[in-house]
């Protein structure tokens, strides 16, 4: 039973990180209607910048302006390809600038673990979950209660009508990417102390994040975070108790989960079913 609790706790810890990356994915999707496959690498790159400058990943709005804007109204596959291209470019650029040697990244939280009975909580893990929840609360408030947040949601949903309300749609999309890359950067900085900083650090995490966002629903920021926690726990429990899976096949669990959700509940647990009047 002890093992079980310990696995759940550490599952929640990694889940918090999946959740924060998933949150960034969902944000871009909500704000711009684009599924950003380059989210992981953007987060990684921001983390490098954070590493060098100890600064946030704000400059990422350029990605929207330069790369996404020209293909904004193109078919969805074009945008997917552009995002994947961005992924490859950012990955290689990070390797080129910072080399592929792993670098330790400091955790902002104390290294001392917290004991609760016999179950160990890492201070960093708790901190990461806390940070994710704070970011979530901030984003929720931003999109729900501010005029700018409302205008961003409107711009993503119905650009033509938004223009007729006087909303500068291009800027809203740019701000959306900027915000999401900030969220991604925060996620990256939470991940880096665990996995070390290297250009491929987000590759696996991005897949878990996709599983989380799919499970929670791509239209639900809260669902994405909760999805992340669930994925983290499932991954750990399956890894511990299903012996042929172990640690090697953990990632497969995430992919299987994506498949199952897409087959049985494509809108995710908390997502909104897209309805179109025809």
């Amino acid at each position: 039973m002890e093992v079980f609790f310990q696995q759940v706790v550490s599952g929640l810890a990694t889940g918090g990180i999946y959740g924060s990356v998933a949150l960034a994915l969902v944000m871009i999707y909500q704000a711009t209607d684009v599924v950003n496959y380059a989210q992981g690498e953007m987060a990684m790159f921001s983390t490098y910048i954070a590493w060098t400058l100890l600064d946030k990943g704000v400059p990422y709005w350029w990605a929207e302006r330069i790369v996404i804007r020209p293909v904004e109204n193109k078919p969805i596959l074009t945008i997917v390809i552009v995002c994947i291209g961005l992924l490859v470019i950012l990955n290689s650029m990070a390797g080129w600038i910072y080399s592929y040697i792993q670098k330790p990244f400091p955790s902002p939280f104390p290294p001392k673990p917290i004991m609760l009975g016999t179950v160990v909580f890492g201070a960093h893990d708790l901190g990461a979950i806390g940070v994710t929840l704070v970011v979530l609360a901030f984003l929720y408030a931003f999109f729900r209660f501010t005029t700018l947040g409302l205008a961003m949601r409107a711009a993503a949903q119905n650009p033509v009508s938004s223009r007729l309300c006087g909303i500068r749609v291009g800027w809203m999309l740019a701000i959306g990417w900027g915000l999401a890359s900030m969220v991604g950067a925060v996620a990256g900085m939470m991940v880096a102390p665990i996995v070390f900083l290297d250009p491929n650090m987000m590759a696996g995490i991005l897949i878990y994040a996709f599983a989380s966002a799919t499970l929670g629903g791509f239209t639900s920021p809260g669902g994405a975070v909760l999805g992340g926690l669930i994925v983290g726990v499932i991954e750990n429990l399956v890894g511990t108790y299903v012996h042929f899976i172990g640690t090697e096949l953990k990632l497969t669990v995430a992919l299987a989960l994506i498949l199952v959700v897409l087959v049985f509940k494509p809108s995710g647990l908390f997502g909104r079913v897209a309805v179109h009047r025809v």
């Binding site: 949601r153 409107a154 949903q157 119905n158 223009r163 309300c165």
Partner: protein, 236 residues
Amino acid sequence: MALLEAKGLHAQYGWTKVLHGIDFAVQEGGITTILGANGAGKTTTLRAVCGMVRTAGEIRFDGRRINGRATEDLVRLGIGHAPEGRGTFVNLTVEENLRLGAYARRGGGSVAQDLERVYGYFPVLAQRKKQAGGTLSGGEQQMLAVARALMLRPRLLLLDEPSLGLAPLVVREILRIVRTINREERVSVLLVEQNAAVALGLADHAYLMETGRVVMSGPAAELRQNDAIRRAYLGY
């Protein structure tokens, strides 16, 4: 004085010319209607006014030339547009839809007051304010489109076929409110319609368009008496 005036207005989508040099005007405080069948260029005319399509010729709003300006900027001048297809933000609530209408509003005053004002005109929207826009009926969405445009406190209200697909009673209700707004708030109106009977009953001045040209114009009362219009558009 004319609030909106177009002279020799051309418009095109890509290589396809849709408007071939039309002239029209909306008087300050007046209601002008543009009538015509499908494909006559009515919607394009409204789009031209809003900077949503490439134009040549001249459009003046309040004496200033506005061709080529961005839609977002024209909205800030006080041009409210209830577009073709109603432009509902289907996943946002009714109240959020209305708040967006006030996004580019000039002048002070609270948005809450304006919400009360439009809820006064359209009580059904007040009942539905927490509902997603996409769940409203066609008539309610048309009301929402007009109400959203009103949240701008516009000087000029552009209405694109508000009668399309709606029951006659609902159409009458919406147009009654448009008339009230025109009289009480001195909002000038440019109404584009296929339903000539309805439009001529409301407007004080009318234009008739056919395939991108204005073929007839005059006071609405006169056009209503015109034999050709009666036969072709009023059906009696």
